[in-house]
């Protein structure tokens, strides 16, 4: 009996393990601290700039009073750039819809090596610096003055940059094997390819198309690297105008102009958040799960 119990007891007294009271609590607190600090880091300047655009005198702060004067000034001076940005974004969206939606479908349904290669290539414009793409466009098309001075030149740059996002968003939705089975079902009922594409593929690819569209619009409105290199005094988009005002004018005007930018992008971002679209323009897995589970049906 003694030998058994003796062997169960530790040979020597164990060192007391040093345990901070609630190590997990400390870690959690640390995590919260970092998270909130990051949020503050990201949001506080935004709030500051909004305030700056609404105060009479930035150096004096809020005590100098609130005013809409800067907004009004910015609007009279720069409303052209706002409309131009919208125009460019809309045109970019149309082009990417017409080219990107079919391309996304093809790449999702073709499992050949060639389609992999094409997919790799189509992603390059966003993997490589926008500056390079802009220079490249200038090298080749800079000589065609009419084209180069027109809005179309900016649109071209935006399309090149945003097309991969549309393609990817649509491809993600079309890649599901469900769509393939639906197409086979439609084919078994006699529908030709074009009929299938219009009546079955497009309606069911709609979540991807919407996600891609939101991404394209947001990216186009905010695009600077390419646009700065390509713009002329007549084709100034909003970000280009922002760069001008930051450099040369009062901080209140720059801030008011930034408020305009926020107003333009806010609805798009809210829509993206609401639909569960993430930074790459794809619907997040959680949203997909939600819509999938809502289609579960009760037993008969």
């Amino acid at each position: 009996m003694n030998s058994i119990t003796a062997s169960l007891q530790p040979a020597a007294k164990p060192r007391p393990r040093l345990r901070l009271p609630g190590a997990r609590t400390w870690l959690a607190a640390g995590q919260w601290f970092v998270t909130l600090l990051l949020c503050a880091f990201l949001i506080v300047p935004v709030v500051m700039s909004i305030m700056a655009g609404l105060t009479v005198n930035y150096f004096k702060g809020v005590s100098s009073g609130l005013t809409l004067r800067w907004l009004a000034e910015v609007w009279t001076q720069y409303h052209g750039s706002v409309f131009l940005s919208l125009e460019v974004a809309a045109a970019t969206l149309v082009v990417t819809l017409l080219t990107g939606v079919p391309a996304g479908y093809v790449l999702a349904r073709s499992k050949t090596r060639l389609s992999r290669i094409i997919e790799e290539f189509l992603v390059l414009p966003i993997a490589l610096p926008g500056l390079a793409s802009a220079l490249a466009l200038l090298v080749v098309y800079g000589g065609f003055t009419v084209f180069r001075m027109s809005v179309a030149f900016i649109v071209v740059g935006h399309v090149v940059f945003t097309l991969p996002f549309m393609v990817r968003a649509v491809a993600a939705v079309c890649a599901s094997s469900d769509l393939r089975t639906l197409e086979e079902g439609a084919a078994s009922l006699g529908a030709s390819f074009l009929q299938r594409f219009v009546t079955i593929v497009l309606p069911n690819a709609r979540p991807g198309i919407v996600a891609g569209a939101l991404a394209v619009l947001t990216l186009s409105i905010g695009e600077f690297n390419l646009t700065w290199m390509l713009h002329t005094p007549d084709t100034k988009t909003l970000p280009v105008g922002l760069a001008d005002t930051y450099a040369s004018l009062r901080i209140e005007i720059g801030s008011a102009y930034t408020i305009l930018f926020f107003i333009m992008t806010m609805p798009l971002l809210v829509a993206m958040q609401w639909l569960g679209v993430d930074a790459t323009g794809q619907r997040s897995a959680a949203k997909k799960r939600v819509t999938a589970s809502s289609s579960k049906s009760p037993q008969p």
């Binding site: 084919a187 069911n204 037993q299």
Partner: protein, 352 residues
Amino acid sequence: MKLASVPAAVPIALTQCAKTFRGTRVLEPLDLHIGAGETLVLLGPSGCGKTTTLRMIAGLETPDAGGRIAFGADDVTALPIEKRQVGMVFQSYALFPNLTVRGNIGYGLKIRRVPAETVRQRVDELLGMMRLTAHADKPIDQLSGGQRQRVALARALAVQPRVLLLDEPLTALDARLRDALRSQMNTLLRELGITTVYVTHDQAEAMELGDRIVVMSAGRIEQIGSPREIYYRPANRTVAQFVGTINRLAGERRDGMLTTTGGAVPLPAGSTHASPAHEIFFRPEDAYLADPAHAQLRGHIESTAFLGERTRLTVGGAAPDALLIDVAGRVELARGTPVGISIAQDALIALS
């Protein structure tokens, strides 16, 4: 309830149809004749080629060079599925989420530019036949599994297909529902009278629904026959083991009897004289318990499994392999009890 204006049923003929995917032969060249109005079941485990065969008949796959498929007098080998006029029910049903039940059922007719009024009439007819009228305008994600299955069937039938193809249509449903729908499906197929090819891995479905069953394995046809033929006279071991349960008696031939560990049974007529060692097979329900003194085989109970309507006994010592014997429910035997087994003479099966 018969559908108005059902077209005459067509026979289907497959000649030397094989299929190779990426260098792997998934289907050996096969010949198959399906009679007009017949329900043929393709039965086998996953990977046996049954779905590939179905998809070839549908037109979603083309057979390798040399294969021919004919619907009646028409050679359809070169026709894509859109032109073959088949009705297909997919395993996942493939209902269009962007259309209502009515929209789904009428899809094939709309494609063919049938006038709207005619479409409405036909869809109503099918809705009534499938008892879906109350759900006509619902989106499909509000339907239960059984309802979706009926929509899929209605949609396939709406276009008055020459041939009906069903790819494991009941697999996606739970067991109870499957049993209930199986008999409804059977009644429906009999009434419709369309040539039907039905793919399943479930032998109960195959037995109940098929006029003939094609048992497939590893890309080949193992046997074609009626359900009874398949069950009572399996052509080989693969068929015997896939359809139902089979017991094996291994031993030596001697004087017209097979002598094994626990006794001897008479050899079935027509068994080959290949070698002294021999095997005979029988089904669990064809053996019965008998007095060990007079029974053909003697052994002892290894375990019992009470399955409700029957009890499955595992008997050891009667043959080199343990034998599974089914007896009626109300039997309780302890482990180790010595038992005797006798088997009906015509239930003994010889297999190659």
